[in-house]
Symmetry: C2
Amino acid sequence: MTGPYPSGSTATGAGDAAVFRDLTGIVLDALAQGTADRGGPLPSGGPDEVAARTRAAIGAVLPQHGVGPEAALREVVGAAARGAADPAHPHCVAHLHTPALAVAVAADLAASALNPSMDSWDQAPAAAVVEGEVTAALARLVLPRAAAPDALITSGGTEANLLALLFARERAARAGTSPLRVVCGANAHHSVHRAAWVLGLPEPRTLPCTRGRLTPDVVADALREHRGPTLVVATAGTTDEGLIDPLPQLAEVTAAHGAELHVDAAYGGPLCFSDALAPRLAGLDAAVSVTFDLHKLGWQPLAAGALVLADAAAVRHLSHRADYLNAEDDTEAGLPDLLGRSLRTSRRPDALKVAVTMRALGRSGIGALVEHCVRTAEGFADAVDAHPAVRRRPGRIDISTVLFRPTAADDLSDEEGDALVAAVRRRLLHEGRAVLGRAVAEDADGLRRLWLKATLLHPAASVDDLGELLDLVAAVAAVRAPAPAPTNNGDAP
Amino acid sequence: MTGPYPSGSTATGAGDAAVFRDLTGIVLDALAQGTADRGGPLPSGGPDEVAARTRAAIGAVLPQHGVGPEAALREVVGAAARGAADPAHPHCVAHLHTPALAVAVAADLAASALNPSMDSWDQAPAAAVVEGEVTAALARLVLPRAAAPDALITSGGTEANLLALLFARERAARAGTSPLRVVCGANAHHSVHRAAWVLGLPEPRTLPCTRGRLTPDVVADALREHRGPTLVVATAGTTDEGLIDPLPQLAEVTAAHGAELHVDAAYGGPLCFSDALAPRLAGLDAAVSVTFDLHKLGWQPLAAGALVLADAAAVRHLSHRADYLNAEDDTEAGLPDLLGRSLRTSRRPDALKVAVTMRALGRSGIGALVEHCVRTAEGFADAVDAHPAVRRRPGRIDISTVLFRPTAADDLSDEEGDALVAAVRRRLLHEGRAVLGRAVAEDADGLRRLWLKATLLHPAASVDDLGELLDLVAAVAAVRAPAPAPTNNGDAP
């Protein structure tokens, strides 16, 4: 070891506290310096240049002899910060990629330092209690009318959707009838399809949507065609457009046909923290399971997902014996059995930061931040409408996603217009000036076009902070738009 | 909000650095205080008392109005620290539950603060480069002779084993022959069975082991009985005994029958950092995939798993298009496609702390820590052998796991002896004095008995630190041992 610190210093060992404190100080400095050096929402230069700069800054990642903790932290954390797409910058709005709250990140430091593993009591005596309190609170929050709800912590919406399909598969298997069939809209998250593939289920029946939403009539038709156990997957907060499917009507038609309803509320679920916004999730109560996520509209660092279950008994499908973790006599003697709470074995205590954040802000405080995001999106939509060089995808904003495109794209053929939208997005990325998303969605004329997407998740950014984005888009579009296409181009019969 | 901090402060936003620094300071104080208050390897009093104390300390986890970040951090982090089973204490040795290095935990703080998500380039421009460097280095380290190795970051051994089975399932499906059959030893980790269940595969064929190891002859017999695509799962570092299956012989017999070999080296894999110990993993080169994990013998906070692949082409099975993350025209325009690197979508940059640790310590520094653990285990085994009131499970120590039991248990019937061993473990847990594991393993007479398990992962603890454990075990066993059973008890015909 060449560094000044003993290489075996732990985060919590006797006598190690001073070393640990010094090293976290180096990280805080490197983060602040790297962010200042970057000076924008993401590094400029595009993928190849960022890769070259990052590789040069970090050097060999596994040298024969180490450079010591201080130097390694400065180099690698500094490079990561300089090269970050930082959702705490108001112009970083592409994805459900949240700026993490300082309080949540600070709490997460304790998770790493204490390093409890959630698969047995003797690795996580208190952390298991914290997780239990969090899952109970989330279950009551999301499904307040369920008699015995429960929630499982997941690595995100993808794992939650997988668990939902797994539980439905097992219910179908125990019923002994035909295998499970999954029905979802074209607006469902890709993880629904991926989960079916992983689980060895048939490809989900994917139904067309109308203006981005799954409608009850097409679901009814599909359910009439198919007998046997069926899970209908609806979405509260679609990835592309941030829309909420008509849950009450979908719940009704699903129940009428004896099918089950799963709602992927990875994005929209946290509306239930706000009394004003919770009514937008009406119908959620009819779901057997709900995908919920606090690393989106909940400002947690990754990962903070959950699957909320209307009936706690569903968890039994994960019940599982491994003598080293939950021997029968240990369970009988009162040692809690944690293994059946996840598909993972070793598992980070992601509930810790959630507990701290919920207790710090309270339901009202989190609700206020959610309302801020929704209001900011509405204000941004107005700004789009008022701007001469961009136009908005028509329709209601259900949560905090706004689709828009430069009007210069409308002067081109459909194909060239879409290409312009994509090029504007990539140009802004390349120049390190803005991180905007993209989505194909139905326009007022019923045609599907490519749009720029702003997903507004920042708990403090204002509409003014975002206004500049529209000028950026307009300016880049004006430069990159080719000469208008000849008349009738793209209108071939 | 009642707290002194603005509720919307982010970890990296402009002007937020001072708040974030203050909050991490509170966490460091709460960790140090909580650890001092606990004063031992785990809290005393047993599950119910720990739960009651923890609940009282943290209060309502989702109050209507928050208590503010400072108070919430003090309360919840303090409770988590007081109630932790702390692997940085030398008497916490039950599981593959590692004391996290200060440098790794400090680096992990940057992961949470920057919060890159590994599913698209525009959420993780530099973090994706860091992950690429780490996976390339791990692939070369673990499978140095493979022509085009690759590695995927996972949430641990469980996800790595699942991916290994998934890739094998897909190879079998594309070959169009019969479905995949998995063959493993009784010593295989439970996640192999769980993965088969999740993936809709038949229950693995589970073969008996000899003194804790899978032997080539039983594998050969099983492969002769079964035609069609087969994945043999061997283990380098079994959970119960820390043993390494005879990999060269298993590789030979597997190849001879046209089957494939997967090696679960979640525990033993890091021996390859040490030139002295790497030969114990001879035969690994024959594997199509290797489960590898740095949150065990690598001192990373959870999670730091990987699946190392002999042929990078296997990753294509995860290839997956979701326009918002990897639209075809974006990929063609040079934006790296990250989505096909995991089953997860949103994903924390777990590679960041690994990069910092590997660069800080180097291969030699990590190797030296691994050697320290192996040497400590050997020294501890000698201490067991020298102690009058405990005896060791006979046989070689392959890595750093030592099985032993109080000799008082040998004076009882088999059943009562095992019950004593289990009771000693639970008593030490209840009193907050030691966290020992348990394992059923073959004794010298061929009978399977229950043992106490010490898994020695501490990068700095000495044999002397551990010696006290044996006196603790002996003292508790002496108190709890019932009067010797009458002669012939348990010997009924």
